[in-house]
């Protein structure tokens, strides 16, 4: 009987013994990472987990690293999920890690800071990358848990503010191991879908650990790769995740995100009534102006008519005055002429003028008498131009017509 065994058998034996030990097959180990390397070719992670007194070799295969949502670093406290056994080739006791997450505030912050630095260095947080949200989205893609309060909040707020929009829900798991892949799938599916014009990734408040998933590098990269603007709203105001930095818009809460995504119906009704008032006033002004213009034209027209009437009447009046004056002066001159003629005639007929030439007028009892009216014995006065003579008629003889003058 051989009193020795070979190394391979030893290691196998140890491994088999360890395999009997139930707790080792499914353990969670808390420790600090040291001697961390990522194998350049295989992509496997090799490191030691240590505490104050001890350390253990650890390995995480590439397939598992896909689930990591932080960058492991030396000095970081982590919780490592996996099993421990002997690596037969080296006889090394090793921890095979399936999943890891930062442990404690310090480690979590470290992981966060490291990822922040890395993504910021790549320019993923740059302001220039931020795209504006559509002012009136037709469809909003929502990545969230179907049973969560966030989804209720989003529906309530949008239903009240802007029910014109359509919500396209990509129901995802927001907690646990599958959450990361689920959220990534949701984001990608909504980005690929034709319908949404903005994507909202949200979940309600929770513990820091609950929200930690939104610090995932892969979720951040999925959001950054979206063709459509991404809005993030994780937890409460105070919770800021890596996703918030990558998103085109960060909202403090799911309700706030819903508000930021859509316009306000009440505001629009107000806007419409202002527009309506404007249009009303405008058309009224317009009509008033036209009416005024029409009135002005009317007034001018009638004034013109009145003026024309005045001119016509003034002319007629002038003509009448002229006519009247003409007629007047004609009459006057005619009268003057006939007066002159009459005066001349009167002058020529003046009997006293004849006396100057030596004729005399016979007058009886103060009245001028023709000679044939005289009777013998009448006492008459003879008037000459420069003297008068009282006479007594001795006889009266008739003179034969045509027998000549005495």
């Amino acid at each position: 009987m051989a009193d020795f065994i070979n190394v391979t058998t030893l290691n196998r034996l140890a491994k088999n013994v360890l395999a009997q030990c139930e707790p080792l097959s499914n353990i969670v180990v808390c420790g600090e990472i040291s001697g961390f390397t990522r194998h350049y070719k295989s992509g496997h992670l090799y490191f030691n987990l240590k505490d104050e007194a001890s350390s253990v070799k650890s390995v995480m295969f590439r397939g598992q690293t896909r689930l990591l949502n932080f960058e492991p670093q030396n000095g970081m406290q982590v919780l490592a999920y996996g099993h421990a056994t002997i690596y037969e080739r080296d006889g090394a006791f090793q921890l095979y890690v399936d999943y890891m997450r930062p442990f404690g505030a310090g480690a979590a912050q470290m992981a966060f800071d490291a990822l922040y630095k890395k993504l910021e260095g790549e320019g993923l947080f740059a302001q220039e990358r931020k795209r504006p949200l559509p002012s009136m989205p037709h469809c909003i893609g929502v990545v969230t848990s179907k049973t969560g309060a966030a989804w209720q909040d989003v529906q309530n707020v949008i239903g009240r503010r802007w029910p014109l929009v359509r919500l396209l829900l990509a129901p995802v798991t927001v907690q646990g191991l599958e959450a990361e892949q689920s959220i990534i799938s949701g984001i990608r599916a909504l980005d690929r879908d034709e319908r949404p014009d903005v994507i909202l990734v949200t979940r309600g408040g929770g513990s820091k650990e609950d929200l930690w998933i939104f610090n995932s590098e892969r979720i951040a990269r999925a959001a950054a790769a979206c063709r459509k603007p991404v809005v993030s709203a994780v937890g409460h105001e105070i919770d800021t995740t890596i996703l918030d930095y990558v998103a085109d818009l960060r909202a403090p809460t799911p309700s706030a995100a819903a508000e930021l995504c859509v316009p306000d119906r009440a505001e629009f009704l107000q806007k419409i009534s202002v527009l309506q008032e404007n249009i009303q006033n405008n058309i009224q002004n317009r009509m008033q102006i036209c009416y005024n213009k029409f009135m002005m034209v009317g007034v001018r027209q009638s004034m013109l008519q009145v003026q024309q009437g005045l001119v016509r009447r003034r002319q007629a009046l002038g003509q009448a005055i002229q006519n009247m004056e003409g007629a007047q002066s004609q009459k006057v001159s005619q009268a003057e002429r006939s007066l002159q003629a009459a005066a001349a005639l009167a002058h020529s007929l003046n009997p006293y003028a004849v006396l100057a030439r030596g004729y005399a007028i016979a007058s009886r009892e103060g009245e001028v008498r023709a000679v044939e009216e005289l009777n013998p014995g009448d006492r008459i006065t003879l008037y000459g131009a420069r003297a008068e003579a009282d006479c007594t008629v001795r006889s009266v003889r008739k003179i034969m017509q045509g027998s000549g003058n005495p």
């Binding site: 829900l169 799938s185 990608r188 599916a189 009704l269 249009i279 317009r286």
Partner: protein, 71 residues
Amino acid sequence: MKQPKSFEEGMQRLQEVLSALQDETTPLAQSVKLYAEAANLIAYCKKTLDDAQLRIEEIDAELAQKTGENV
């Protein structure tokens, strides 16, 4: 008068109508026509806002993932 296809189109047209109404070179007859159109647009936009009902659909991300992409 043609009905707008969407609320946005209605609002946009409403703004255009207002600008046209504010333009003093628009003839009065045209203004009156625009006014009638505006009244119609306002009624449409108000009704759209008042009657709107939130529509909700769902997408199966896992399925979309499998059919659309290989990760």
